[in-house]
Amino acid sequence: MKRPGDFRIVNHSVPRADGVAKVTGRAMYTSDIELDGMTWAKVLRSPFAHARIVSIDTAAARQSPGVLDVITGTDLASLRPYYGHAVKDHPILAIDKVRFIGEPVAAVVAEDDLSAEEALQLIEVEYEELPSVMEVDASLAPEAPLIHDEAYTEGAFRGFKDGRQASGNVCQYVKVKWGDAAAAFASAAHVVENEFHFPMAYAYAMEAYVAIADYSKKGLTVYSSAQHPFMVRHDLADIFDLPLNAVRMIIPYVGGGYGSKSYTKIEPIAAVCSWRTGRPVKLRLSIDEAFLTTRGDDARVRIRTACDAEGKFLARQATIHLNTGAYAENSPLVCAKAANRIIGPYLIPNVDIDCYAVYTNTVPASSYRGFGSTQVTFPAESQNEELADLIGVDPFEFRMRNLAQRGEVIYPGLRPIDADVPGDLRQIESKFEEWGAVQEGRGRAVGCSASDAGSHPVTSAMIHVYSDGSVSVLSGATEIGQGSHTVLAQIAAEEMGVPMSKVRVVGGDTAITPFERSTGASRTTTLMGRAVLEACREAIAQLMSFAAEALGVAQSALIEECGGVRHGDTQWSWGEVIEKHFKHKDTSIIGRAYLRQTGDLKLMPPFWEIGVVGTEISVDQETGKIRLERLMTVGDVGLAINPAAAEGQDLGAATMGIGVGLFEELIYDGQQLTNGSLLEYRVPRFSDLAPDIHMTLAQNQDGSGPYGAKGGGEGSLNPIPACLANALYRATGARVRRLPLTPERVWRALQERPKV
């Protein structure tokens, strides 16, 4: 395998392929696109958390100037009006009842957006309010009203079991168990047991959800800001009973995703609007509406951890409750991942985890960067730190005693750990030494996480190699800002021996690119990157045989050289080989690769995403305000295809961790979301930037991706909230088990802390 230093283009911070488009404003996002004859849709939303729809009167709205149609759930009877890849519980527009404040009840299509907006007010809906459940405990109570009373239908992609056998409002239940935790707790030297709360968070992709649908006899074309176009294609094909080749998803530039744009969101509403009116329809939500569309799962975690007198883990037991909101969306998978990821990168011999995703009458929760890990790493790493103190060893030493070495199995049946986590931790430790003694009023902490990442390894890629030496990469992975189009081009340029300027990545169109399951779980570099590499190798194998044929020699007599082939004094570039093969100009050949769950990708996960971070905070004792002073991330990415882009992912992810650790939280007051707007929901700003930031990459080429690469982009988020809480404890002695660490919460904890 090539090593760092051997590469021409890979492992170099080459400028992003989308640079000029994005700094000049020429990059077109779905929100910028307008089609000929396009109309606009607006959505009427439920004012009730839980209510039966008695009647909807759309007559006046239909008469309103410019209005083409008003659509409600009852108009969709000839379609399959429920969607969901995990559980088919989500109606395109409310049918019979509403399940959260903000749920789409009707859509107006009009010639322009203002006419559509004005007509919304003319729709009369009569509701009969039902008792609602806003929190997990209320939802699990025996007398709780059922949020979903119809049969549970599995979605296409996961085969989830009906969680409602456990209780009427349980969307999903997952158990993870090995060893004998009860016995281990009974004989343990040290046990800590607490309850932790992780907040409801909002991803705030700066471009709100937007879709333009165009339904005609030829099929359905949808422009969308979706991360997983092929998954959305599935839902749309199912809704309209169309063949896959009649549904075309086009994904232009996307203004941020972070998981919040994974799976189907507003595309079905736009599609039914176009289906009814026969016109292209644009549905562009406001950010305030995006707040009502999806969010991250908030969590309550009751957790016990035991270790022996030397500080070796004996057991962990936890009951995790995720508040999933009104619809399953991707929470069944978040539930499964939360249960797995509470282990961390450690060897724990006895484990017993129960995880419940629970329906409530709140905004549906779904994927959000970190995906279950952030929720559970906070309690897990908080307790690890508490145990270290009980044993009386330094937090690094405590972790070192328990970390899995490369090749050790932390989770029976899953891939052994493919990283040097102790080595990563040592990098933080030496940075702390370099930083010297901690100043008065400050606290420092380290944090680790391990996520079974990459999702299901089904990926395909195709490359065209042209007779002029240029190369096109056809990839179904979505460029959501993470830089994947640059990284994939680097891999193709490296393999085909051409400069970056000769490579073009064609993506974002399901009619053109082969299948890619999804763009999430940090998978693109690992899986799509590997598929692109294999497609290049497959193209080169063809080119070698073409060259042998053209030269009339055995293939074994040829030498593959960078960008072409040599035989004696004859030297041909790949382009020349192609032209000689076809005896024609402007010709091209196709290389392809399919990845499936076989071979070295048989063991799940495709890779472990490791998070290792260190933070130093200062705490204002008067106000309780925390400031991040120093941050270090170790991006354990196997090999960084583009180091600057990889570090950019780490800092971006860590900054989201700072947000949810220090101030981000959606707050419900009764049935009402009180801060569903950017005016009240505080995300990290420029002035929150830590004065001292270090980002390192661990490049041990130990991943299953190209050249030993592994994904990044979530790892540096997952341990940050825990790390901040532990740093607060180190600074002040106050242990806070509820995030975010707002000034008020910290101030109260400072008042309540035991006096020394």
């Binding site: 911070s13 400028p15 992003r16 989308d18 640079g19 000029v20 488009a21 994005k22 700094v23 000049t24 404003g25 020429r26 990059a27 077109m28 996002y29 929100s31 910028d32 307008e34 991803a203 705030y204 992709a205 700066m206 471009e207 709100a208 530039y253 996307v254 203004g255 941020g256 995703g257 972070y258 406001s286 950010i287 305030d288 959501i480 800002g481 993470q482 830089g483 600057a644 882009a645 950019g648 800092l651 971006g652 860590a654 900054t655 989201m656 707007s677 950017l678 005016l679 995300v683 990290p684 700003r685 420029f686 002035s687 929150d688 930037l689 930031i693």
Partner: protein, 157 residues
């Protein structure tokens, strides 16, 4: 009604309604889509354009207010030969964007700062850009890009 103003150095005349925001007129009527709209509440800065050299939130600034003024959008930053403005170049060089949705506003806000204060301290850059949210980058690359552009512009002039 019709409003007339200078847009990226050229006079424009456009029919508007009094309620139209400058962002709507730029992106929908004039189809200059480089200006991005996110929060629509003067919080995020994505929609920042320059009016008479000062940064304004075009999501709430009425188009009517721009009459007779000099409006600069991201499309107006390259020079006549199509060369990138030093800030545009430094944003590429420093990886100061990912999704790019904040980038137009960020660059224009930074331009307003550098036009006024060619040699800002880090604290001044951070303070000036505190009204521009970026959800992707964690800000450090943007800080570096503004520093780099300041140096480049100093050497240039």
């Amino acid at each position: 009604m019709t409003v007339e103003f200078q847009l990226n150095g050229e006079p424009v005349s456009v029919a508007i309604e009094p309620r139209h925001t400058l962002a709507e007129v730029l992106t929908r009527k004039l189809r200059l889509t480089g200006t991005k709209v996110s929060c629509e509440a003067e919080v995020c800065g994505a929609c920042t354009v320059l009016v008479d050299g000062l940064p304004v939130s075009s999501c709430t600034y009425l188009a009517y207010e721009a009459r007779g003024k000099n409006v600069v959008t991201i499309e107006g930053l390259e020079d006549k030969n199509g060369n990138l403005h030093p800030l545009q170049q430094s944003f590429i060089d420093e990886f100061a964007f990912q999704c790019g949705f904040c980038t137009s506003g960020m660059i224009l806000s930074a331009k307003a700062l550098l036009d006024e204060n060619p040699n800002p301290t880090d604290a001044e850059i951070i303070d000036h850009l505190d009204g521009n949210i970026c959800r992707c980058t964690g800000y450090l690359p943007i800080l570096k890009a503004v520093r780099t552009a300041a140096t480049a512009m100093e050497n240039y002039s």
